[in-house]
């Protein structure tokens, strides 16, 4: 037990063996004494024994995709019993609700420390300064990304001035074809950002792709950002490679533009690999031993070849939560991960293409 606790408490740069970590996590999450109520009950309906059959990272693929069940699970049932009364629940986060009712995840303080540490280590590698002010335009409240950014700023001795964004409302507007209202909402966000940028010395800007695209339309804002910002972090949504290159080379040539890929069920964010040029694919490395990625053929579920595009499958494994084998709504190129990390890295993440059948027959156009 002591050994297990040690390895499960390992930080992101303790270089523990990922397979060993996964085995320890299985023993923890599926031991009646330490596992959560949700997993202990769910285990009875699995057709394998996680403690016996999951021998390493690759065997996480034995799990079915259970993420849908997180729409209804009670929060208390997700907390591993092994924490006992000492469990420190910091947040309950919702997914964006793109595919229906939101899924819910918990964040305990030990995971928050690990997550923040890995994000900060990577931001420092990108040359982000300590101190100074951040402007973060991101979904906050029930959404993970705003919290990740605030903690990242704090971890670098900075503070984030934040502008809140409600992605669910925007999605509703888009679905209803209310493009004018989407524009008006975006303008509203930009107005708030403009005030902050005009009155404060902002060193780091963290925003979504549409917001950066919107900034790019205002010469005054672009000039100000190029003059003062030390880094721009984009995330929350996808950015196609052409847009990334245009932003890096034409719009913000004087500021590093750094990608961030994450989502609620990953429970953290992956930062763009250091040292890439604007014309190279934007690679995101996994974080062993917690976040494992696989790029698969959506038809067969088989891993695609390196360099090929497939659908992204994410597993989160930590002492606080287990979300294995979750099929994301993203596609990406499979890339070899940075040394020391298990699974795949991903590049040029893009949404799953929605197939638009040839339904419109009428008419000559």
């Amino acid at each position: 037990m002591t050994d297990e606790l040690t390895i499960l408490d390992a930080g992101p740069f303790d270089r523990v063996d990922p397979d060993e970590f996964v085995r320890a996590a299985m023993r923890w999450h599926f031991d009646p004494a330490t596992g959560s109520r949700y997993w202990l009950e769910r285990a009875a309906r699995l057709n394998f024994d996680p403690r016996h059959d999951v021998k390493g990272v690759a065997d996480l693929g034995l799990f079915p995709d259970l993420a849908d069940e997180l729409r209804g699970v009670r929060v208390a049932d997700l907390i591993p019993r092994g924490y006992g009364s000492g469990a420190r629940l910091l947040n309950v986060f919702d997914s964006g609700g793109t595919t229906g009712a939101p899924k819910r995840v918990i964040q305990l303080d030990d995971w928050m420390r690990h997550s923040t540490e890995q994000v900060n280590r990577r931001l420092r590698a990108h040359g982000l300064p300590d101190g100074g002010l951040w402007l973060t335009v991101a979904p906050t409240g029930p959404h993970l990304v705003g919290d990740v950014l605030q903690r990242a700023a704090a971890g670098l001795g900075s503070v984030g001035l934040s502008v809140d964004m409600d992605p669910r409302w925007v999605r509703k507007l888009v679905a209803a074809g209310r493009a004018d209202d989407v524009d008006a909402y975006t303008d509203h966000l930009v107005d708030q950002c403009r005030r902050i940028l005009l009155s404060q010395d902002i060193g780091v800007i963290a925003a979504t792709t549409p917001l950066l695209e919107r900034f790019a339309r205002e010469d005054g804002l672009v000039e100000m950002i190029n003059g003062s910002a030390k880094a721009i972090i984009w995330g929350g949504t996808h950015m196609d490679p052409d847009t990334r290159e245009l932003l890096s080379t034409e719009v913000f040539p004087d500021v590093p533009v750094i990608g961030m890929y994450g989502n609620t069920l990953m429970l953290t964010a992956l930062m763009e690999r250091v040292g890439l040029t604007a014309s190279e694919p934007c690679v995101f490395d996994p974080v062993s031993p917690y976040v494992f990625l696989t790029v698969v053929d959506p038809g067969t579920g088989e891993q695609v070849e390196v360099g090929e595009r497939g659908q992204v499958v994410v597993s989160h494994v930590s002492k606080s939560m287990l979300i294995p084998n979750n099929m994301e709504r993203d596609t990406a190129l499979r890339v070899r991960p940075d040394e020391g990390h298990a699974g795949d890295a991903v590049a040029d993440v893009a949404p799953v293409p929605t197939v638009k059948g040839e339904t419109v027959i009428e008419g000559v156009y």
Binding site: A216, T243, L246, E250, E362, G363, V364
Partner: protein, 463 residues
């Protein structure tokens, strides 16, 4: 016949305000057999907004240069080499990708060159008689109106059904607008050539851009413009119905009316040509023929003539019918069967897809007779020669003739003609033996475009 070397794909770059722009992963443009013939760069929204901002910054083409410039562009379009393609190579590609018969494409090249040359005079034909052309006009001295633009940037979201759709936006350019063209992904060659020709002739890169995009980003092109022309079906018309900045160009539903005082036998050539010329794919092709009498002999005669048209690949000099990928042809054929339920089929009753064996199929003509003038089928416009022949009587009135881009009226009834002229939803009225597809520079297609682009501003110069 010149063909493009498959080993060396043809790239159609976006033509941005700072020159050609190639995306990282250009999308395939395939011909009717599914073979890739070119790679098209679909630009992201950020590129669009930056290009539109550049258009806004640029000034209009100086009026003094305009006629020479348009003449040079017309020559380049009709006979130059643009983007590595000479005119024959260009026409071949248009024909292979859009499935439009080569002879139609060839005629369209000539026609478009004529429109380019006359774009300025065409546009100025729409000027109100009470409005002067500019401040230097002596009429302004004592109080007058001056004809001015309502905006600076014009966008067109074009269709690929016929190369001729790219004639209209030239008027916007001639009136001083800076223009963004979003080409059809199926047939981007014509706008690419036209924008290239105009640039060769001296239009600056920041005055005219070609922005290929996916469907979603196309909305950005339209939204960032002051005025936009958008081609599409009824859904597009409905989407922009309340947007004063957008002029939708929807289905034409062009028709022919023949009253009892006219012997249709004298006009079969015109009727058949209205249905099938241009490959039957244009909004000015006749969709319905209404006849005051028994329509059966008329339908039979049209069917007899159309049935004789040969099935040939589009690039064959003798081809006259449109071609498309086989699956789409089969879908269209099945769809026609559903729509035509309850009508009498004179031609095409057992399907209209004629497989060419290379992955493509010819869309053969269809002729159906309906029971009444208010049959729902008369509103159904399909992208091949497809005509609904209906009985019409005075008691039906003009209701069945509404929502018509071009109505050719074979009648000598003056009162009826007055009523048709007054009907707001009939855009164009041709009287007598005139095919629906007739068009000429300076004659409006759907009112003058300048009605949408310009206004008359009162000016008094008291100096």
């Amino acid at each position: 016949m010149t063909t493009v070397n498959v080993a060396d794909p043809l790239y159609l770059d976006a033509l941005g305000p700072r020159g050609a722009y190639r995306t990282r992963v250009p999308t395939s443009v395939t011909d009717v057999t599914g073979t890739e013939v070119a790679r098209l760069s679909l630009v992201p929204p950020l590129f669009v907004t930056r290009a539109m901002a550049a258009l806004r910054q640029a000034g209009p083409i100086p009026a003094a240069d305009l006629d020479a410039l348009l003449a040079a562009a017309a020559d380049a379009f009709a006979s130059g080499t643009i983007g590595g393609l000479n005119v024959r190579e260009y026409e071949h590609l248009v024909s292979r990708t859009s499935g439009t018969p080569l002879s139609v494409v060839h005629a369209a090249t000539e026609g478009t060159a004529r429109f380019v040359r006359q774009a300025r005079s065409s546009a100025w034909r729409g000027r109100p008689v009470g409005a002067a052309g500019g401040l230097r006009d002596s009429a302004v001295r004592e109080g007058h109106a001056v004809w001015v633009r309502q905006g600076d940037v014009f966008a067109v979201n074009a269709s690929g059904n016929h190369p001729g759709v790219h004639r209209l936006w030239l008027e916007a350019l001639a009136l001083g607008y800076r223009v963004a063209v979003r080409p059809s992904r199926r047939e981007p060659f014509t706008p690419y050539r036209l924008v290239g020709a105009l640039r060769q002739a001296g239009v600056r890169d920041d005055q005219l851009v070609l922005l290929p995009t996916d469907h979603r980003t196309a909305d950005t092109v339209v939204r960032d413009a002051d005025r936009a022309l958008v081609y599409g079906g009824d859904d597009v018309v409905a989407k922009y119905a309340n947007d004063p900045g957008v002029l939708p160009q929807g289905p034409g539903r062009s028709k022919i009316l023949i009253t009892a005082d006219t012997d249709w036998r004298d006009h079969v050539d015109t009727i058949v040509a209205s249905v099938a010329d241009e490959g039957g794919t244009a909004c000015v092709n006749a969709t319905a023929v209404l006849f005051e009498g028994d329509p059966a002999p008329l339908a039979q005669a049209i069917a007899a003539r159309l049935s004789a048209l040969p099935s040939l690949p589009p690039q064959d000099e003798r081809a006259v019918l449109p071609v498309c990928p086989r699956e789409r042809a089969q879908a269209l054929s099945a769809y026609l069967g559903t729509v035509a339920a309850g009508t009498r089929a004179w031609l095409g009753g057992d399907g209209i897809a004629d497989d060419l064996g290379d992955g493509s199929a010819v869309l053969r003509p269809a002729v159906h007779q309906t029971d009444s003038a208010d049959a729902v089928q008369l509103r159904s416009e399909l992208p091949f020669p497809c005509v609904w022949v209906a009985p019409w009587s005075r008691s039906d009135g003009i209701a069945p003739l509404r929502d018509t881009l071009v109505l050719s009226a074979l009648t000598r009834d003056g009162e009826l003609l007055d009523a048709l002229l007054s009907e707001p939803t009939i855009a164009n009225l041709y009287i007598g033996d005139q095919p629906t597809y007739w068009m000429a520079p300076g004659v409006p297609h759907d009112s003058y475009l300048s009605d949408f682009l310009m206004r008359s501003k009162a000016v008094f110069d008291a100096w």
